[in-house]
Amino acid sequence: MTVKLPIYLDYQSTTPIDPRVIDRIIDVMKNDYGNPHSRSHSYGWKAEELVEIARRQVAKLINADEKEIFFTSGATESNNLAIKGVAKFYETVNKKHIITLTTEHKCVINSCRDLEQEGFKITFLPVQKNGLVDLNVLENAITNETSLVSIMAVNNEIGVIQPLAEIGALCRKKGVFFHTDCAQAFGKIPLDVDKMNIDLMSISGHKIYGPKGIGALYIRRKPRVRIKSIFSGGGQERGIRSGTAPTQLIVGLGLASEIAFNEMEQDYLHIKKLSKKFYDAVTALTHVYLNGDLEQRYLGNLNFSFAGIEGESMIMAIKDLAVSSGSACTSASLEPSYVLHALGVDDELAHTSIRFGFGRFTTEEEIDYAITLITKKVEKLRAMSPLWDMMQEGIDIKSINWKTH
């Protein structure tokens, strides 16, 4: 059986759109092109109806009310809106402190940095060696001035799942809002805004086999979370987010959410099978380290560091695989990953880290091909590497790799 090259193993960067979703989008573009805010004719009403159906589909996946879902252009905008929106609304009641993690996505970190410039106090909490937040550290960081805790569900680089329910319970107890960036989690792991006490949640379309250019923000109504919007204009999305709501993209996100709701178990089993096979084969090469906790993980993300190899030569050697080193947003610069750094991974191993992402459309043939290729190339590169020789001579590089900061 032949496989199509390059093999796409970069599902955290973006996902292929599900053909069912493409078909639906094309259908809407052809037939239901109204402006959903047109209140005077059938094209507008039809578009609005489609938008509202999608809103229910998104809400259902996280056990929210449809009135709590606001469409945005993507998770980046949602994260900006959630963090700045809460910060600026509650600033007036002397709550000027926000807590987040050093391993958050760039858009969370940079939204916080922007607020810092404006005089807000931001605490960037460290994570443990396994990539997870220490709940005691979090609890101690919360003060009377804290308005928001923003902690992602699934890390985009290393795939670890933060303990959302525990964080949510803690935040509720302490009377602070809990925002979670679920770009990598929504549609992939079970999420329940009530059980997990989530107050705001960022959602992306193109990470769940839906279109790019669309996302959503969940904002809790009871108890009510207030935010200050970042766009002004026509007052669409009940004043939270101005701009014409893009019907076809919203429909795409809605359908992608519905498919994820119906097929989450099936996707999970498929990915688990591929992930296990890949994990076993790659770790058999020895001196390969999985970054982030092995158990608390979304299995569609395996981020490995290969000892005794140069990072860039590894990427070149396996260019039949479309993979990223670090997250896509920062990988263009090829600087060592700040997430791995936060885990205490040393620069050498951080440089050889590669993220392998699997998803709904990854096949077993593709995984087999990837395993064969990686095995062959790792052995070849190591044979050429002086570092590898040193390791073979018993110089314990590993002991210095995992030091804590």
Partner: protein
């Protein structure tokens, strides 16, 4: 019967070529930030779209920053720059009109009865001994279609050391837009008004001018607008620009059908009708009329019952049909304010459709007169 869509200024049907392009690009998981071959291909597609936009708007000296909408583009400039104050016209689209950074003084330029902004009033509003103020005037009004003297406004703005933003959303594809010639500093544009997809727009900014991003995150678009790029939407946008450029001359021919419509409306009402901005250059496809003492709600219900899609003006405001802010700015008499309807035609609109509209309008008008 398929509804007759005469609300082209609100949003447009996507062209077959645009749909095909979106479909084609949607087949691949393109993330332009990825370092592998698909990332490079995504960048190629984006560059191609930029070239088409550049060709269409003559904007090679401008940065093209893709956004989710013209609303976002405008917000980016208004909130992301340190202007000393802002001057807008009182007929701006709500995306500009409601974009008011709280710490800044915003003054409004009045408008004449024909729907064209008052240049004398603009000159009066220019702050004395103050640089770096922002002026924002739309190229064409979305409700009346009146073409605004933006080239002159840009010139006066620059003479007084201000900067000029132009909302070109309704103008592109309908009249020739040359950013170099207009000499604007910033422009906001949306794809879905020119048969492109909803959910994609752009901010055009003269090279060398800087701003603080509205949306922070990854390093996409030189860190000026974070977020994974909507590659399929951008490709569709580029395609729509290329088509709009090709069809620009044909677009002007719509005025024949529009004028035919207006002549008939005048005949039916024995000239007891106001057609706004009819004595000034306006968009070829736009007819904004009002008949006295017959509310637009009643008219809209009747049109809807007869499968005609029109609007009472801008669609995006509060979602309720109310009096048009633009008409109020034009000092339109109260009798007419409640009875205003915007009919906006597309290049696909047929004479049969307009005849049907005239027939329905006539029946309605005779009925209500009794």
């Amino acid at each position: 019967m398929k509804p007759i869509y005469l609300d082209y200024n609100s949003t447009t049907a996507m062209s077959q070529a645009v749909i095909a392009k979106v479909n084609e690009v949607s087949q691949y998981p393109f993330n332009s930030s990825a370092t592998h071959s698909l990332g490079r291909k995504a960048n190629g597609i984006i560059d191609e779209a930029k070239a088409k936009i550049n060709e269409f708007l003559n904007c090679k000296n401008y940065e093209i920053i893709f956004t989710s909408s013209a609303t976002e583009s405008t917000n980016t400039i208004f909130f992301g720059s340190d202007f000393s104050q802002i001057i807008i016209s009182n007929i701006e689209h709500s995306s500009v009109y409601n974009c008011r950074p709280p710490h800044l003084k915003v003054s409004e330029i009045s408008c004449a009865e024909n729907g064209v902004i008052n240049i004398d009033d603009f000159i009066k509003k220019i702050p004395q001994n103050k640089e770096n103020f922002l002026v924002s005037v739309m190229a064409c009004n979305n409700e009346t279609g009146a073409i605004q003297p933006v080239e002159e406004i840009a010139k006066i703005t620059h003479q007084n050391l201000g900067l000029f933003h132009c909302d070109i959303v309704q103008a592109v594809g309908k009249i020739a837009i040359d950013l170099e010639k207009l000499n604007v500093d910033y422009a906001s544009i949306s794809a879905h008004k020119i048969n492109g997809p909803q959910g994609i727009g752009a901010l055009l900014i003269r090279k060398g001018l800087d701003f603080r991003p509205l949306i922070y995150g990854g390093k996409q678009q030189k860190s000026k607008r974070a977020g994974s790029l909507n590659v399929a939407g951008i490709a569709g946008f580029g395609e729509a620009c290329a088509l709009a450029q090709k069809n620009l001359d044909d677009f002007q021919k719509i005025s024949i059908l529009r004028d035919y419509l207006e002549e008939n409306l005048q005949k039916i009402t024995h000239n007891n009708i106001k057609i706004f901005a009819s004595n000034t250059p306006r968009l070829a496809n736009t007819c904004f009329y009002a008949i006295p003492n017959i509310s637009n709600q009643t008219q809209l219900i009747n049109f809807d019952l007869n499968n005609i899609c029109v609007s009472a003006g801008a669609s995006c405001s509060s979602g309720t049909i109310s009096q048009s802010r633009v008409l109020k700015a034009m000092n339109v008499a109260n009798d007419f304010l409640d009875g205003a309807i915007r009919v906006s035609l597309s290049p696909q609109t047929t004479k049969n459709e307009i005849d049907y509209f005239i027939k329905i309008f006539n029946e309605f008008y005779q009925r209500t007169k009794k």
